[in-house]
């Protein structure tokens, strides 16, 4: 099959002048937000590692803890979605495999984000009633 497209038309919109900038910036913005969130998260894990169920529920009932944990989860998921997307785009070149993995990456991040947010809200608002 003869390809009548010129090199320019093939490249149009794909290079640095295209849409990649917002993706790049979003990855940096989320990484800046994650610096304090992750440091807080480490101390939270240290505390929660010696907590039983009641203590963990009481911890998550605090508005500050609930909101920071929700932010940590959501921003981490956004950041790791961007990162894994780049990894897939770098190493996987078969189009159908690449598309499948990119979809899987998005769906896994969205699913776990929704599950984590709902779970945090449920525990924080109900005080652990189940």
């Amino acid at each position: 099959m003869t390809d009548f497209r010129t090199p320019r038309s093939r490249a149009q919109g794909l290079g640095a002048a295209g849409h990649g900038v917002s993706h790049w910036i979003a990855e940096r913005v989320s990484s800046v937000a994650l610096i304090p969130l992750v440091l807080w998260g480490v101390f939270a894990v240290l505390r929660l590692a010696r907590s039983d169920y009641e203590m963990a529920v009481a911890w998550l009932a605090s508005p500050v803890n609930a909101v920071l944990l929700a932010l940590l989860a959501v921003v981490s998921l956004m950041h790791m979605h961007s990162g894994m997307r780049v990894v897939v785009e770098d190493y996987i070149h078969r189009r159908i495999t690449k598309a499948g993995l990119l979809l899987l990456n998005l769906f896994v991040c969205a699913l776990f984000g929704a599950l984590a947010l709902f779970s945090i809200l449920k525990v924080a608002l109900s005080g652990g009633a189940y």
């Binding site: 003869t2 390809d3 497209r5 010129t6 090199p7 940096r28 990484s31 800046v32 994650l34 610096i35 992750v38 440091l39 998260g41 480490v42 240290l46 505390r47 929660l48 590692a49 010696r50 169920y53 963990a56 529920v57 998550l60 944990l69 940590l72 989860a73 981490s76 998921l77 790791m80 990162g83 894994m84 990894v87 896994v108 776990f112 984000g113 599950l115 984590a116 709902f118 779970s119 945090i120 449920k122 525990v123 652990g128 189940y130």
Partner: protein
């Protein structure tokens, strides 16, 4: 009309990785990506913790039992190193993004600082965990 597709040459390829001496900057760059992928799993473990908590005491107890098992502790140890390494290397990348510290000596110093911070912070966190009874 000339056939434009014949004018497209094969894209230039990078020099082969095996003919290059390993640099600290290259090693930490690859480790940044590996720790990032590891933290993908780590974030899912964190999300799993919130889900287990929402499912109730039994689910929470078995999830914490899993994390507290020898294998669970090994995974948590690896993840704690991955967190600190990815954090430090990420900060170096943010500094690079501003155009600073790109010269080889500065880049090498950043790689050393990244490794040192990750190792020290990991050890400190596990000492704190041992002292507070979190182990």
């Amino acid at each position: 009309m000339s056939d434009v597709s014949k004018t497209i040459r094969a894209r230039p390829t990078s020099p082969h990785v095996q003919v290059w001496r390993w640099h600290l900057t290259a090693i930490t760059s690859i480790m940044h990506r590996i720790t990032g992928v590891a933290l993908y799993g780590g974030t899912l473990i964190l999300a799993g913790w919130t889900i287990a908590l929402a499912f109730g005491p039994e689910a929470y107890a078995s999830y914490m039992g899993l994390l507290g098992s020898p294998l669970g502790k090994l995974v948590m140890f690896g993840l704690s190193f991955a967190v600190f390494f990815h954090l430090a290397k990420g900060v170096q990348h943010l500094i690079w993004d501003t155009g600073l510290a790109l010269k080889v000596p500065a880049a090498n110093a950043g790689a050393v600082a990244t490794l040192a911070f990750a190792l020290v912070a990991t050890v400190v966190v596990w000492i704190i965990a041992a002292m507070t009874g979190a182990l």
